[in-house]
Subunit: 345 residues, 2 copies
DNA sequence: GTGAAAGCGCTAACAA
DNA sequence: TTGTTAGCGCTTTCAC
């Protein structure tokens, strides 16, 4: 601050000719202190606009009341809902939140994680970046004793505390629904190559096909890069130019599904009569599209809140540091018009 | 941390029989220190996994390298883009970010602002909540010498450093476009009552009508509460039940526009032939709707980055604290099919 | 009930 | 080139 230095305990103490220790105790309502002193101290503190210096408090307590959150993408509906859940839970326990994007590659993710830690957070909430293949640096963090909980995109190769959606089940539900609606040639737009939930969703898809004795067609399993509307659009056009066309697509997310629907509209394909589409994420806009979009709903709010609760629990009970608790939440199928061909068949 | 306490400068110093001061200097490559000591110190530091204790560093420096961000809504496309811009700019300058939602009312916003400040942020980036009517508490923050920059939804009654979109122009562009496309009875779904950009957008709308000599119809200016798809849907149904129906709507945001389009579809109204719709925000999904959505684009990324740059500049040059710089960015009209009736007329 | 003193871990002015 | 010392602002034992 420029001219006007911030008031400290010392300033208050000098005004009252008492010591900083007394002031400190008075402000925190220590039972030893007389009501008279308390009143005086609080009055002066108020008039000076005294606020405890958090740097000093943190240094004494060796904790900051700060939680670091690192995730691959902030600009994303589902991320936002998880963050919202975290914020809500954190506020209940008087924690503040620091958010950070993982960045473009494994190296930046690592740097950002440490930047957060070095900023003095009491713990870390991490959704693993799609670009991270080597998960061992998370173990370094764990071994240095930092509380860390993974959410949504959780590590696959190391033991850890984590919470995620049952992506396998999500993939299964989506695919099974399409099968039950009578679609026979169901394609799948996979998630990004490195994303932790890509494979489980794919496996759910494959398992459903298997359970219903539908032959897997490798041509119908499509890799995705960006997983945005545009890619859904173009990959759908591509698929529909092939000799063997699908009659349904289970998309890794709603954005791709929206692009898919736009492409099918361009091709004058009748949805859902001749083609079914299911997304993943259940974005609000799905309700207002033409047709409305069937999707798998994950409760981001719930995952966020539970991840935060787990982390705070660990921070307050360091004994639980290596419990490696694993929570899984259930996705649910939200059926709308993009896949519901009712009594057609 | 449980058993294993974190290593400190002292630990390194003892291993080498030197003082902590030397260790401190060696680690920061102070020119006075011999290369030999530097090498030894760094080796030990490395092997001990030494990391500077940020609490102590902050206390010494009276700064944290943290920026606090407070805004009304995290789960929101436009918010996300602004945050992304901020994160990018902050990383350039080695600042970390703390994010916080304003909360449900003026009181919680105030509390959250102070919580951020009390967590030791070096400065604050604030988008004013829709529920905040009394802006004087921001002045308290300013008067205590905290650097603060407002973005997007900026205070209207107090001098401050700020950056926002030219919402008046946005409203004007949207309305003028509808007029030029031949729509005559243009309604407006206003933004939330307390939102700082509601009035400018409304005024832009009114000015455009005036410039083109179109009579204002008060029945066509609709208050909004939530400003989500659902509200756009229902308010459109309501409007279309009236005797005097509009033939176009300029919506405060894309979500409402999406709801509006869904309602018009339900009513079998031909867009854009018989009805024009313009949104605000230019969400990606607008490109993939049926019809595609005309919207006003604001560069959230740019606003976020510039706000952050301004704040960091002020933090580094406290003399600029009360410069009350005001930056305005230009919105642009993105014409798509929801309002483009070409050579119809 | 209040004061004195130590210390959290680090940096920097001053000495040597 | 390195050591000594003081101090950032706060909390907490231990005296009195």
């Amino acid at each position: 601050m420029p001219a006007n230095k911030k008031p400290t305990l010392k300033d208050i103490a000098e005004k009252l000719n008492i010591t900083v220790a007394t002031v400190s105790r008075a402000l925190r309502n220590h039972p030893d202190i007389s009501q008279k002193i308390k009143d005086q101290v609080k009055l002066i503190a108020e008039s000076l606009h005294y606020r405890p210096n958090s740097f000093a408090v943190n240094l004494r307590k060796q904790s900051s009341g700060l939680i670091g959150i690192m995730l691959p993408k902030i600009v994303h509906y589902y991320s936002s809902t998880m963050i919202k859940g975290m914020v809500g839970e954190a506020q209940k326990h008087n924690y503040q939140i620091m958010i950070c994007e993982s960045g473009i590659n494994e190296e930046t993710e690592k740097e950002n994680a440490w930047a957060l830690l070095n900023s003095g957070v009491d713990g870390l909430l991490v959704s693993v970046s799609n670009n991270t293949f080597n998960e061992t640096y998370f173990q370094d963090i764990q071994q240095e004793g930092y509380p860390i909980v993974f959410f949504d995109k959780v590590p696959i190769s190391i033991p850890c505390n984590k919470i995620s959606t049952d992506d396998f089940k999500g993939g299964y539900l989506a695919t099974e629904h399409l099968i039950q609606q009578g679609y026979k040639k169901i394609a799948h737009f996979k998630g990004q190559a490195g994303a932790r939930n890509t494979i489980p969703r794919l496996h759910g898809y494959l398992k459903a096909l298997q359970d219903y004795s539908i032959q897997v067609n490798e041509q119908f399993i499509i890799d995705s890069i960006e997983c945005r509307e545009e890619e859904g659009y173009h990959k759908t056009l591509f698929l529909m130019q092939q000799k063997k066309k699908p009659d349904a697509i289970f998309c890794e997310n709603d954005e791709m599904a929206i692009g898919t629907i736009a492409a099918l509209r361009y091709l004058n394909v009748n949805i859902p009569h001749d083609f079914g589409v299911v997304g993943f994420c259940n974005m609000p806009v799905g309700n207002y599209m033409q047709p409305t979009l069937t999707s798998i709903a994950q409760s981001g709010d719930e995952i966020g809140a539970k991840a935060m609760a787990m982390l705070i629990d660990i921070i307050k009970n360091p004994g639980k540091l290596n419990d490696n608790i694993s929570l899984v939440t259930e996705p649910s199928l939200i059926i709308r018009n993009s896949s519901l061909r009712l009594n057609h068949h």
